[in-house]
């Protein structure tokens, strides 16, 4: 009996790793079928997908550069999804954050470098949070479906980007305005995030993002607000009964996730593009959601996930040489999402099946594991 329950517990602990790995394998298999139907050799495509991401030192740093921004987006998504707030608007929040960071860096270029960087990023953080507050408030107080409202906010921010980059924020350097290029002026070098390896895109933001992931982990599992956010996501009725304001937690989760997405936009601008450009956010939004789901909505799980998908985004742009466009990566991401969400019922069934014979042992172990949770619960009630 005990051996059996230990085995099931081991298997449960493995689930957050097993599910994503199997999902990737399944997605690659289905993707290969499509490639074969198109007369393309999947072996070559998948080989390029790997070599394009880690084949050289430069591509490795490119992968880390992409993963940095993705990680910041994904840990924000973790917070929102944990509260059962399905923030699909991270793409727009990245854009708005990037724009705010750019505007700040361009307008206060005389500040000393560390202060300029900090305040510029803060501007992106705040702007992203404010942008997300709109659908957050609409969900909490007006019961507007947040998936739909955030998708609309994405569309609005794409046009906002064009309006600003062809208007107030337009590149004023001679020649570009007349050429109708949609971009801002280059931000001053003092605002650039320092490079960790010269002449690459491996910048200080990578360390910042990893620290942020640990902070979000601490926030979600070691603070009262984080506990409340997770409680609301698990069971809003019980949470309300326990005195938690579901509305406030909904808005808080949305704002924090938007703020992190905004910070991601700022880091992308200060670390990589050094100006706001038309499609600097492309793919970060939806890929960030995939990364979060892939990391089982755990901020630390998002770290390896961000590296994996950052690598895929980098090598995706290099797939032309094997006769495939970068949209192959979107196909794989979509399939991975479908496989990961579909697995929840299978996991549930296997858990149930396993829980039936050693019912007592399971309950006891759960009880003892729950004491820490109970302590937290008391804290919340008081």
């Amino acid at each position: 009996m005990t051996l059996y329950s230990r085995f099931t517990r081991q298997r449960e602990a493995l689930m957050p790793i097993l599910v994503p790995v199997l999902a990737v394998a399944a997605a690659l298999a289905v993707g290969a079928v499509f490639l074969l139907a198109l007369g393309i050799d999947p072996g070559k495509v998948y080989e390029k997908l790997i070599s394009g991401a880690v084949g050289s030192t430069y591509s490795q740093t490119q992968t880390i550069g992409k993963a940095t921004t993705l990680l910041l987006v994904a840990i924000g998504v973790c917070i929102a999804f944990r509260a059962n707030v399905l923030n699909i608007g991270v793409e727009g929040q990245v854009i708005v954050g990037g724009l705010a960071t750019t505007a700040f860096a361009l307008n206060f270029k005389d500040l000393p470098s560390p202060i300029l960087i900090t305040l510029s990023l803060l501007a992106g953080f705040i702007a992203g949070g404010a942008w997300a507050a709109i659908p957050g408030v609409l969900k909490a107080w007006f019961r507007v479906n947040e998936i739909l409202s955030t998708i609309m906010m994405n569309q609005i921010s794409v046009y906002l980007l064009i309006v600003l980059l062809t208007g107030p924020l337009q590149d004023t350097t001679a020649g570009t305005a007349s050429a109708n290029i949609v971009q801002s002026s280059k931000i001053p070098e003092a605002a650039w995030l320092p490079l960790l390896i010269p002449r690459t895109v491996f910048h200080l933001g990578a360390i910042l993002a990893v620290i942020a992931a640990f902070v979000v982990y601490f926030f979600l599992w070691r603070t009262v607000a984080g506990y409340r956010i997770r409680a609301v996501g698990q069971n809003p009725y019980a949470s309300a009964y326990a005195g938690i304001s579901v509305k406030r937690m909904t808005v808080l989760a949305m704002v924090l996730s938007g703020a992190l997405a905004g910070l991601a936009g700022g880091v992308e601008v200060l670390g990589i593009t050094h100006r706001a450009i038309q499609d600097f956010s492309t793919g970060y939004g939806f890929s960030g959601i995939v990364v979060a789901l892939f990391g089982s909505l755990h901020p630390l799980g998002a770290i390896p996930a961000a590296l994996l998908f950052g690598g895929m985004l980098v090598s995706g742009t290099k797939l032309g040489s094997v006769g495939v466009s970068s949209s192959m990566v979107t196909v794989l991401e979509g399939l991975i999402v479908l496989f990961v969400v579909s697995s929840s019922e299978l996991v549930r069934r296997s858990r149930r099946h396993a829980a039936e014979p050693p019912l007592r042992a399971e309950t006891e172990s759960e009880l003892s594991a729950d004491t820490s949770l109970n302590a937290e619960r008391k804290e919340v009630v008081t």
């Binding site: 609309m152 006769g323 495939v324 991401e333 979509g334 999402v337």
Partner: protein
Amino acid sequence: MADSSIVLIAAQGVSASASYLYASLGEAFGQRSGVFNLGVDGIMLMGAFTAFYTVYNGQSPLVGVLAAALVGAAMGLLMAFISVTLKAEQGISGIGLYMFGLGLSTLLFDTLIKSVRPIDHGFDKLPIPVLSTIPVIGPILFNQNLMVYGALLLVPISWFVLNKTTLGLNIRAAGQNPQAADAMGVNVALVRYFAVTFGGTMAGIAGASLSIAQTNIFQQNMTNGIGFIAVALVYFGGWSPIGILGGTLLFSVVTTLQLWIQTLGVPISPSLISMLPSVVTIIALVLAVYFYRTQAPSALGQPYRRDEN
């Protein structure tokens, strides 16, 4: 002159409403049965590509629509399998389906067609004799292509099926109270499978009407979010086909207004005007909550588990 250009723009508005109508009415069936399919936009893109590619290879537009409907049905069936059999979270599954459709339609386009090029013969205008000669209304409503007439006809048909047939009753029961429906002998899973697959089929047709009726081209991400607006229109229309028609007409007015402002040469950035549909959608969603809160299918978004109740 000014009058005729307004009529022209209004006619364009009605023509543009076809893809919204197909997608929204199909989604209404799914949601009435309790399943929220957010992948509509991805299905539309696949439908649009399929129809375009079929006609591009010399087939007639009708064959193109049929092919798009089949692809849509297949994707609807996939969504039904994920949400009904595998009981996955519907919002996220829909996003996954959307990404899959967006990626695959782009991949197929990049591989098989490569650059944007028009087809010579999509659905041509088919003026209805007599009716199309009525001043103002004639050119707006009765000088459209077959896909537009089909979309407008689908409104009363959907209303009839949902409200006056056993099938409609079963669909509504599955979305309102699946336990009771199950107890009365309705096969909840089967009904949901049917409704979601039908919704997918309609989304495929919506895509076809975009690529081979309204325009004669296919472009990467050519829906530009129409599928998501279509889902929002279901809320705004209070889950009723008549309400959806009203919402679609509102959108036609907004789209028309957008075109009108641009032709008038008002000095506003076109991008600023392009925000209008999204802004109106958000406002419409807020209003929908006030008007129709009680009409939402109670089991919307919830997988049905017989053993738990």
